[in-house]
């Protein structure tokens, strides 16, 4: 590593223990002023813990943090903030019920003698949001009423408002659409040109190549490589470093779908009277159909309406020829439908409960005799599934909260595997899932299809939709604008369609 001048931040031998777990066990890296330093690693490699240590939310147990050459101790988030470190967490840290402007300046309110300068705060919030390409977000709006993507923008505005020297961004692009990512990158470039350093975390290789300067790779709480050139290092090398193995092909091989296979899911003229209308969709047994679209295009709403979690204004959903009662999740589940929701943590999992309880929650009656549960069988059947899916660490009595994103997703999948469902709806199945676990989940989805399940996958990752699905539907502003085999369309065409009529 060549050190031209004193690095802005340098970290050596960082160790952080939690009860029963060594989250960090020797992290070294340094960040220079004006660079974008990418942090890479699988879920659970220790990235989030590292960020929390750097931003003062956790105290390290061992190791040294130097800030502009001086030994620094960030005892609290406020101390870190004062030194000039701002972090944007993946779990949004906004207070619903407060306005956008209040959130942006929360903790460092603009005030004169204890009186908040509200007009000034609004004005500066307005300027920050404009700079982030979002003149459409009103500074007075309650943050809780914004979309997730817009909340992310507010969270960015908050980090920018601190005028910090080091900005830490934990997967900022996860909920942004391509346009917004472009604007975000513009802002990052502008910041680095002024000497601000950015620590950037993302699972998307293309982003790292585009915006990153150097890369540090973490594995099992340790630095396994640091100071790699973001533009020159080979993807396979990075994946190899992260996983400790060589990855051949991300997407599994797929067999052509039997054209005579029965139509399992038939959706006709579905509309919710607001976000989408006129959606027709047919999925055969063994087929994977992908829905591509931007955040806010209505794709998640379509999926939730098919599942009965939202009431349709018109249209019908049929499973194996039987029409479902509209707006009833119970009816959908009984007919053999399963949903892996977009927000895994808030919509999918019982975070503080054991793995096996999360798996059996949708099939409790099959484990019960006269309402009494046989939890030995529950555990046994769940164990078979978690072993087959390679959920790590093993053990069905483990609390789900402690698992990584990929393993949590496998638990949700196991729930529907257990029910042997006929139709599986997957909303962003690999959001927050690292590269290695991602290909396992793809494999699993193909596997299910091979056994005759009809699968619908929603994703904002076009490459994922094309690689995984047999047929692709492109959704734009609540309408299906294209339908066809995934082999007959390429990524740029899908992106064109996705954007069509969008924010022209």
């Amino acid at each position: 590593m060549t050190v031209t001048s004193t690095p802005l931040l340098s970290v050596s031998g960082l160790v952080k223990r939690f009860p029963g777990v060594m989250a960090l066990q020797g992290v070294d890296f340094e960040v220079r002023a004006g660079e974008v330093h990418c942090l890479l690693g699988q879920n659970g490699a220790g990235k989030s813990t590292l960020i929390k240590v750097l931003s003062g939310a956790h105290r390290p147990d061992e190791g040294e943090i130097r800030w502009q050459g001086e030994i620094a101790e960030f005892g609290s988030p406020t101390a870190a903030m004062r030194s000039g470190v701002a972090a944007m967490y993946q779990e949004l840290d906004l207070v619903a019920g407060l306005s956008v402007a209040d959130n942006v300046f929360l903790g460092h309110e603009l005030s004169t003698m204890g009186f908040t300068r509200r007009a000034e705060a609004r004005r500066r919030t307005r300027a920050l949001l404009d700079r982030l390409g979002h003149p459409d977000i009103p500074p007075d709006r309650d943050v809780g009423r914004l979309s997730v993507a817009h909340q992310q923008v507010v969270s960015m505005a908050r980090a920018l408002s601190l005028d910090s020297k080091l900005l830490i961004m934990d997967e900022p692009s996860a909920v942004l659409d391509p346009d917004e990512v472009r604007i975000l990158f513009g802002v990052i470039r502008e910041l680095t040109a002024h000497g601000v350093a950015v620590v950037y975390i993302s699972h998307r290789m293309a982003e790292i190549r585009e915006i990153g300067d150097r890369v540090t790779v973490l594995k099992d709480g340790r630095t396994v490589a640091t100071g790699l050139s973001a533009r020159e290092v080979r993807t396979s090398e990075l994946i190899g470093l992260m996983t400790g193995r060589v990855l051949e092909n991300v997407f599994p091989h797929r067999e052509p779908v039997d054209p005579a296979a029965p139509e399992v899911l038939v959706v006709r003229g579905l509309a919710d009277g607001d976000r989408f209308s006129g959606v027709d969709l047919t999925v055969r047994a063994g087929e994977v159909v992908g829905l591509a679209g931007l955040v806010g295009s209505g794709r998640s709403e379509i999926l939730e309406t098919i599942y009965g979690a939202r009431k349709p204004a018109e249209g019908t959903v049929e499973v194996e020829g039987r029409k479902l009662r509209p707006g009833s999740v119970g009816a959908a589940v009984r007919a053999g439908m399963g949903l892996c929701p977009e927000e895994r943590k808030s919509q999918g999992l019982l975070l503080d409960q054991a793995v096996y309880r999360n798996i059996t929650v949708s099939s409790l009656p099959s484990f019960a005799r006269f309402g009494f549960l046989d939890d030995r069988t529950e555990r046994a059947r769940s164990s078979l599934l978690t072993e087959a899916l390679d959920v790590r660490p093993p053990g069905v009595d483990r609390v789900v909260r402690g698992l990584s994103g990929g393993n949590q997703q496998k638990v949700v999948l196991a729930r529907w595997l257990l029910r042997e469902c006929r139709v599986l709806l997957l909303d962003e199945p690999t959001r927050g899932v690292d590269v290695g676990a991602r290909s396992e989940i793809y494999e699993l989805i193909r596997d299910l299809a091979a056994r005759g399940v009809a699968v619908v996958v929603v994703s904002s990752d076009v490459e994922e939709v094309l690689g995984l699905a047999d047929r692709v539907l492109v959704v734009c502003e609540g309408r299906v604008v294209h339908e066809g085999p995934s082999g007959e369309i390429d990524e740029s065409r899908v992106l064109d369609l996705v954007m069509e009529g969008h924010a022209a």
């Binding site: 009860p19 879920n43 999918g348 309880r357």
Partner: protein, 342 residues
């Protein structure tokens, strides 16, 4: 199924005796939670023996404590379900009062005398269950916040009880009824037996049945439960109805103990029940609940009252001590929970 999938070393923090640490964490949190309660109860009993001597350590006194604990205990077991399911019910005391009044009107007693005393029991259960049902429907389908809905029921049920009873205490004069509930089984008063049966049934229902499992799911993450195919609204109604039935049963027990029905029965039961549930270790935000803890919570509060009464200390002093116990218990719990890494 995916044996052919290459093995990924996904997210393995550090193999620090994983299974062992989980087991020991579970043990220490389960035992730890109840140990604290057992220790508190033992300390209270010691205090009782030291300050009141034989008057405390007397069999009759112990039975008195248990008889007092039985009524609020039955309500608290029901409350454990509602709180575990993510709700709260402030109207339990008022429901007890209304049920006790309705079951002891001249009309009901007349019917009971001409048929069978069990009519009074069914009346109380029906009134309690109906009140719970109304609460549940208001909360689940009317989308009224539980706190507000049951606050309204509190006022309405108490008022209705006053109207029906004309604010008079209604003496029970049904021989069979009194004879049955005053009896003992192997030296244990029937009221205490009822409490024991309700607690045991509650434990089984919460920990061994589909209904119980769904209660944890609904309280832990209602949205996830809904998307997993659980009818969250129906389950919520069932939870409040169950609590209503418990209140009806408690009313029967209270009628038996006092030989009266009255609109003033069950005063502040809501606070006593919630306090017992919470110091027992049930999470007020839902998703975690323990019947054993609740039973200990009830016994602790009742024993405390008994010790204070035996020492001729005022009700006000009792209230202060109760408050202190709640705070200490919650602080202890948090400490234990943090240590076991939950």
């Amino acid at each position: 199924m995916s044996e052919d999938t290459a093995v990924t070393p996904t997210n393995r923090p550090v193999p620090v005796k994983e299974s062992q640490s989980t087991v020991s964490a579970l043990l220490s949190s389960a035992a730890g939670r109840n140990t604290g309660l057992v220790v508190a109860l033992v300390l209270l009993c010691l205090a009782g023996v030291v300050t009141a001597g034989d008057r405390f350590a007397d069999v009759d006194n112990v039975l008195t404590i248990l008889r007092l604990a039985a009524v609020i205990g039955v309500v608290s077991v029901g409350m454990t379900f509602v709180i575990t399911g993510g709700g709260i019910d402030l109207s339990v005391g008022a429901i007890v009062a209304l049920s006790s009044v309705w079951a002891t009107t001249l009309a009901t007693q007349g019917l009971a005398n001409s048929t069978h005393w069990i009519v009074m029991v069914f009346t109380a259960l029906a009134v309690g269950g109906a009140c719970g049902l109304v609460n549940g429907v208001l909360i689940a389908y009317g989308r009224v916040v539980a706190f507000i809905a049951t606050l309204a029921s509190l006022a309405a049920a108490r008022g209705l009880a006053e109207i029906i009873s004309n604010r008079k205490t209604q003496i029970v004069n049904v021989p069979g009824f009194a004879a049955f509930f005053d009896a003992s089984v192997l030296g244990v008063p029937v009221l205490v037996v009822i409490f024991a049966v309700v607690a045991a049934a509650g434990w089984v229902l919460l920990n061994r049945t589909t209904f119980g499992r769904r209660t944890f799911a609904v309280g832990g993450n209602p949205e996830a439960a809904r998307l997993a195919g659980i009818d969250v609204r129906r389950h919520t109604v069932l939870l409040y109805t169950l609590l209503g039935l418990c209140c009806g049963l408690a009313a029967v027990m209270l009628i038996a103990r006092t030989t009266t029905g009255s609109a003033t029965h069950g005063g502040l039961y809501e606070l006593d029940a919630i306090a017992a549930v919470v110091i027992g270790g049930t999470l007020l935000s839902g998703g975690r609940g323990t019947i054993a803890g609740t039973v200990f919570g009830v016994l602790i509060f009742t024993t405390l009252s008994n010790v204070f009464t035996l020492n001729n200390l005022s009700i006000s002093a009792q209230a202060v001590a109760k408050g202190a116990i709640i705070v200490v218990a919650v602080l202890l719990q948090q400490r234990l929970a943090r240590r076991s890494g939950v």
